[in-house]
């Protein structure tokens, strides 16, 4: 079984700040991490490999420093890593990103299952996985909170609010997974020491025969108009005291006055 798992290096979720002047994300001094849902996808891939054997290829599009994230997932147990890095990929929206990822998938070829995290914590769009399936013409399952492979099918539970939907798709297919799927393992010391010896490929647009009018800025029909922090709402706390009956009356009166009842 050959599994492609798509991972992204994102700023540490607990450590995000916006530049108040430019509205851009402050990246200086901010720690990077493996996107949390992608860690679930990696764990899922490794569990399938443990069950069925095969190869897990990790793919990431990003600047050269994203190689650190790929080495981390190699340390967790992935077999091969592919860093898609080219100035022509810069400024990509989800359409251009998914196109670039699809070209890598085509070049690696021979895949049975493609796994992505449900969304990345920086962009929060949840579009890249589905768009990747579209570019490759593959069936897709999103929001998977369970995943099993049986007789050439992938069977998942989809988490839809308080409802659960069980669906299956014929392999090869794209599945995006949620944090409920599993608890990702940590890389091991031995894994990290051996990560440097595993196959690691860095591909640019030419290496994947990617059409650069579809990558990066030129391939991105959407652009970010602005980023801002929502204004913090001020709360007005009122403490009620006295007899219970009076408190209740005052509370109800206040709520009615605010048209909340």
């Amino acid at each position: 079984m050959k599994i492609l798992v798509f991972v992204k290096q994102v700023p540490d979720t607990d450590d995000v700040a916006l530049d108040p002047k430019t509205g851009n994300l402050k990246r200086e001094g901010v720690q990077s991490m493996l996107n949390p849902n992608d860690a679930n996808a990696v764990e899922c891939a490794l569990q399938l490999k443990e069950k069925f054997g095969g190869t897990v290829c990790a793919i990431s599009m990003g600047p050269p420093q994203a190689s650190r994230t790929l080495k981390t997932v190699l340390g967790m147990g992935c077999d091969e890593a592919y860093l898609l890095s080219d100035r022509a990929f810069g400024g990509a929206d989800t359409l251009a990103t998914s196109y670039t990822l699809s070209k890598a998938a085509e070049k690696i070829g021979d895949y049975d299952l493609l796994l992505c995290g449900r969304l990345a914590t920086d962009g929060d769009t949840a579009q890249t996985g589905p768009a990747l399936a579209a570019w490759l013409g593959l069936p897709q399952i999103t929001l998977a909170s369970s995943l099993a492979v049986e007789d050439g099918w992938v069977i998942c539970d989809r988490k839809l609010g308080d409802m659960r939907q069980r669906v299956k798709a014929k392999l090869p297919a794209v599945v995006t997974v949620t944090g409920d799927l599993n608890k990702p393992r940590y890389a091991t010391a031995m894994g990290l020491m051996k990560a440097g010896k595993k196959p690691f490929f860095t591909w640019d647009a030419a290496a994947m025969e990617a059409d650069t009018s579809k990558t990066g800025m030129p391939g991105s029909p959407s652009s970010t108009k602005g980023v801002f922090e929502p204004e913090k709402r001020t709360t007005d706390t009122k403490y009620l005291s006295g007899e219970m009956v009076d408190i209740v009356k005052e509370l109800v009166d206040s709520l009615e006055a605010e048209h909340l009842l």
Binding site: M33, R68, K71, T72, G75, Y186, A187, T188, A189, M190, G191, L192, M193, A195, G196
Partner: protein, 384 residues
């Protein structure tokens, strides 16, 4: 000259940091309050290969080296002093002497499973009447007439990991007339007949580390369990402690850095006289001193770890790192509690625990006074 860590060292540090934040920090308060040995955490650390960081692959380790190992101890100590010393006691004190002085058979029996995370080790040198004066060992071992086993009687005190250790390195007098030259090292399994382990001591800090007494009652230890030659035990113990001190320096540095992290959060939030504490110069200057000392401790610790890894003599580097880091941990945590004010004195914030945990680093694996003896000996001999 290059102060940069290798990519692998950074990745191991980051992995341990992530693990410590997610898995160890949430338990640290409970470990302290309930004097709870963190069994599950230790198991996870074993699975991640943290107990074999310092040893080569041929003995079940990952070959990451001393620097990576010390960074791991430091990261863990940032959030939990107890958990960091469990690692250091097993990986340094209970493994290094076997790695250095053990037979191939002994390495396969104890070192390999320790590194692979299948066995936890403990180191037993101190006795009720032999602390810093380690030569005053009262425990005795007598060789049987057929020369196949030693009969061991005596006791040990303050033994870290004791209740959870699978094996112990013990130091016993085989020839009392020879003083330190009459001390011999042995490795014993936890289930050996004649070994009794007491309940844990009720300590000020590192409360979950299972610090117990060992009693040896006509314990028959096979000759093949002897570590090194008869009479070489004192040297083995002292050399082992040289390396162990780097671990304690890493622990102490970690405790200091952890206290600084907590303090920074607090002084940015706590408002007095209309502004956060961080806006007061007293806070700023105190934090500057705390950070500078912690940074110096970190560098001294890394120098000692680097020296051990590079095969450079490290006794002096280790003693200085341990002395400075331990006193830094006590200073920094004391200042942290002061900046927290009344809240710092409560168990609702972690700095009071860190202050209690810090104190032990000035005492165990050679007190600060012993480090000063080691260091001054070298200085007065004109060796710097």
């Amino acid at each position: 000259m290059d102060f940069k860590l290798t990519e692998q060292q950074e990745m191991i540090r980051d992995m341990v940091r992530e693990f410590a934040e997610a898995e160890i920090k949430p338990l640290a308060k409970e470990v302290d309050e309930k004097h709870m040995f963190p069994v599950e955490t230790v198991k996870k650390m074993q699975e991640m290969g943290l107990f074999g960081l310092a040893y080569p692959e041929e003995y079940g380790g990952s070959g990451a080296g001393q620097v990576a190992y010390m960074l791991a101890v430091e990261e863990i100590a940032k959030v939990c002093g107890t958990t960091s010393v469990i690692l250091s006691a097993s990986e340094s004190l209970a493994s290094w002497p076997i790695y250095k002085f053990g037979t191939e058979e002994q390495k396969q029996k104890w070192l390999v499973p320790q590194c692979k995370g299948e066995k936890l080790g403990a180191f037993a040198l101190t006795e009720p009447a032999a602390g810093t004066d380690a030569a005053m060992q009262k425990s005795r071992a007598v060789l049987s007439e057929d020369g196949t086993y030693y009969t061991v009687n005596g006791s040990k005190i303050f033994i870290t990991n004791a209740e959870y250790a699978d094996y112990f390195i013990i130091f016993v007098m085989t020839n009392p007339e020879l003083g330190t030259k009459g001390i011999t090292a042995f490795v014993i399994d936890k289930d050996i007949e004649g070994l009794t382990i007491s309940k844990p001591c009720n300590k000020m800090g590192i409360c979950g580390s299972s610090t117990c007494e060992l009693y040896f009652d006509n314990m028959k230890v096979p000759v093949e369990n002897r570590l090194g030659a008869e009479g070489k035990g004192f040297g083995i113990a002292m050399m082992t402690l040289d390396g162990g001190r780097i671990g304690i320096a890493a622990q102490a540095t970690g405790i200091a850095l952890g206290a600084i992290e907590e303090t920074v959060k607090y002084v940015n939030e706590r408002v007095q006289f209309g502004k956060p504490l961080s806006k007061f110069q007293n806070t700023q200057f105190t934090l500057a001193d705390m950070q500078t000392r912690a940074d110096a401790a970190h560098l001294l610790m890394l120098r000692a770890a680097w020296a051990e890894e590079a095969g450079v003599p490290y006794t002096q580097f280790a003693a200085r790192a341990k002395l400075f880091a331990a006193e830094t941990a006590s200073y920094v945590t004391n200042r942290a509690v002061q900046l927290f004010g009344g809240y710092g004195y409560t168990k609702d914030f972690p700095v009071e625990r860190m202050m209690r945990d810090a104190k032990i680093t000035e005492i165990y694996e050679g007190t600060s006074e012993v480090q000063r003896m080691v260091i001054s000996g070298s200085v007065l001999a004109g060796k710097g």
